[in-house]
């Protein structure tokens, strides 16, 4: 790297030491300023949520605080009954997450371990399905949900429409495309000899799946679980369209209604928004490696 002195910009070490250092300094300044700008909207929301309403009413929001308080979070929590909406989200997210991973790992196991003629077509069907814009299917899906009866104990509307079951099902159907694609790529890296040996020992297909292949997929499953939790939690559209009773909405979709009704000032809007963001931010900060792994798993492994 030291030889080509005729290259003007590539800092050769002997001549360009000063230039190299200047570049590093500029780089750090640029990155620090940019990342602070990037965090600014969130910091502004945090700051707004910590201000007392009287204070901001008197001095405006762009002012130094007279005092800081956590009251807004308490108010947003109780007034808008946030625990209720968190529970709704949980009732949708957890079953959907489990089913997505189960279904997509089943299909991925089938197409990656056995050599059917339709493997590639099936895999393409799932992958393409996941890429469709949701709006392409929403109009007939709404009709389909309206026409599908469901036992009362599963949905008090008696239909798939306006039921949390319906939301779970569409999440499973839609998201299994991406997960199947990722998992089948991952399973192809597991040596065939392993399941072959299990088969010779008399293990059926189900045991090969559950006891041989699936345990080896743990890293991929963890990455997908993190990612899918975030995506399902963040869904706005499906619940907005397919749930009609405001009470049954998950928190992301409910926020739009709540902000008009209960969050009367920006301090409360900020507090409510941050509370709604909290689960995904926490999961992200704790499981960052899995999250990043999941995103890039789908793109760089081929």
């Amino acid at each position: 790297m030291t030889a080509p002195v005729q290259t003007p910009r590539h800092g050769g070490k002997p001549a360009g030491g000063g230039r190299e250092r200047a570049f590093r300094v500029a780089l750090y300044v640029f990155l620090t300023v940019t990342s602070l700008i990037w965090l600014a909207p969130l910091l502004w929301a945090v700051y707004t949520s910590l201000r007392d309403y009287e204070d901001t009413a008197r001095n405006g929001y762009f002012s130094l605080p007279e005092s800081l308080t956590l009251d807004n979070f308490g108010k947003a929590w109780t007034q808008a009954e946030l625990p209720h909406y968190y529970l709704n989200t949980l009732l949708i997210t957890i079953p959907a997450l489990v089913l997505v991973l189960l279904f997509s790992s089943l299909v991925a196991f089938g197409v990656s371990r056995f050599n059917f003629r339709f493997n590639l077509a099936l895999l393409m069907l799932f992958t393409a399905g996941n890429l469709l814009p949701q709006q392409v299917i929403v109009v007939p899906l709404y009709r389909l949900y309206l026409l599908t009866p469901v036992p009362e104990w599963l949905s008090d509307s008696g239909l798939l429409l306006d039921s949390q079951l319906g939301i779970v099902l569409i999440h499973v159907a839609f998201q299994s495309g991406f997960c199947t694609f990722v998992l089948s790529n991952f399973m192809k890296t597991i040596p065939f000899e392993l399941s072959e040996a299990a088969r010779v020992d008399g293990a059926g297909v189900l045991r090969q799946y559950w006891q041989v292949v699936l345990p080896l997929c743990r890293p991929a499953l963890a990455a997908l679980a993190t990612l899918e939790f975030t995506w399902i939690y963040n869904d706005f559209m499906w619940a907005l369209v397919l749930i009609q009773t405001g009470d049954k909405m998950p928190i992301t979709s409910a926020l739009a209604n709540l902000s008009g009704q209960y969050f009367t000032d920006y301090n409360l809007v900020a507090a409510g928004s941050l509370l709604a963001a909290l689960p995904t931010v926490l999961v992200f900060l704790v499981l960052q490696r899995q999250f990043v792994g999941g995103l890039t798993l789908g793109s760089t492994k081929g």
Partner: protein
């Protein structure tokens, strides 16, 4: 594919239990044919149940959108009330529907904006961060933190930034007291204001994808380029960037799909009106809005479908061709 490479000599001795499927010369079908009845059934269920659900809830409605787009149906009467009107919906949408062309134009602006600014910026950040840096982790985290927020939430958070009198932006540029800029209320401006918010979230995603791609590039390539006298700029554009082609295609497709799906953020801000119309909003209006014209909404959906299919097929082609080679 690994199976195809294995010599047929390893065919299992249990071939007598094989189902009498046709033999395809040159295709190693032995795994599928050497299964016991019970295993065939189990495997059928494993593949069948998820596939049926996926097809029933994703592909059937897609097909239904296409079929219903040739009909007129207000959805109140039964299916027998459907009237077939041929291409009327499409003709009406294209020639008479005042919100259609603005929506298409906004989608195109959305696409163009996302493809140019956040993508280029994400690439720049990835290149800058792809080296040993103090606080590298902090920088990365702050850039892709917005990605874990829902677009609906991004809408809420940026509304607080854009408030004419109390928002951070107007206060910082000194336009909060007099001469206020109404970022989200002005129909000539609000699309771009919303795009900044959407780009804020998208750039981190792009950065992440490129960063993963850059990490996989063989450093020997860059060294070879440097030895040949290329400067950093030339080495990147002529050597590294072409190697990133698979990532570039993923970024392209992710961005296009994101632009076509855009909905949540404009719906949260003003339900997609007054300068923020998008094709997705027009479709959704036929389900939860004032009008419930199923044929009409389906025709809009088909237009969206046709636009997306081009990109989806490009993506599939790229991804699965790579797979064949692997």
């Amino acid at each position: 594919m690994a199976v195809l490479d294995q010599p047929p000599a390893t065919a299992p001795a249990t071939a007598d239990t094989a189902a009498p499927g046709q033999r395809w010369p040159g295709r190693g079908r032995r795994r599928a044919t050497s299964l016991s009845r019970a295993d065939q059934l189990v495997l059928g269920l494993m593949l069948g149940v998820p596939t049926v659900l996926h097809v029933a809830l994703v592909w059937l409605p897609t097909l239904a959108s296409v079929v219903l787009s040739f009909s007129e149906w207000n959805g109140i009467g039964g299916i027998e009330d459907i009237q077939w009107v041929g291409l009327d919906n499409y003709v009406d949408i294209v020639s008479r529907y005042p919100r259609f062309w603005p929506a298409v134009q906004h989608n195109l602006v959305w696409l163009f904006f996302l493809l140019v600014l956040p993508t280029a910026f994400g690439l720049l950040l990835a290149v800058l961060l792809d080296r040993k840096l103090r606080f590298g982790r902090f920088y990365q985290t702050s850039f892709y933190l917005p990605m874990v927020l829902s677009l609906a939430l991004v809408g809420f958070i940026w509304q607080m930034m854009y408030q004419p009198d109390n928002g951070l932006i107007n206060n910082l540029i000194g336009r909060a007291e007099a001469n206020q800029i109404n970022w989200l209320g002005n129909p000539d401006l609000n699309l771009y204001a919303v795009l900044v918010a959407a780009g804020w979230r998208h750039a981190g995603y792009v950065m992440l994808l490129f960063l993963a791609g850059l990490k996989a590039v063989d450093p020997a390539l860059k060294e070879a380029a440097a030895l040949d006298g290329a400067n950093a700029w030339q080495a990147f554009w002529r050597v590294v960037f072409p190697v990133l082609k698979p990532v570039n295609i993923v970024v392209l497709v992710v961005t296009v799909i994101e632009a076509l799906r855009a909905f949540d953020i404009v719906y949260v801000i003003n339900k997609g009106r007054n300068g923020l119309e998008l094709v997705s909003v027009l479709i959704t209006d036929n389900v939860i809005g004032e009008s419930s014209r199923i044929g009409w909404g389906s025709a809009l959906a088909v237009i969206l479908l046709i636009i997306s299919l081009g990109f989806i097929i490009t993506y599939l082609f790229q991804v699965f061709r790579r797979e064949e080679r692997a």
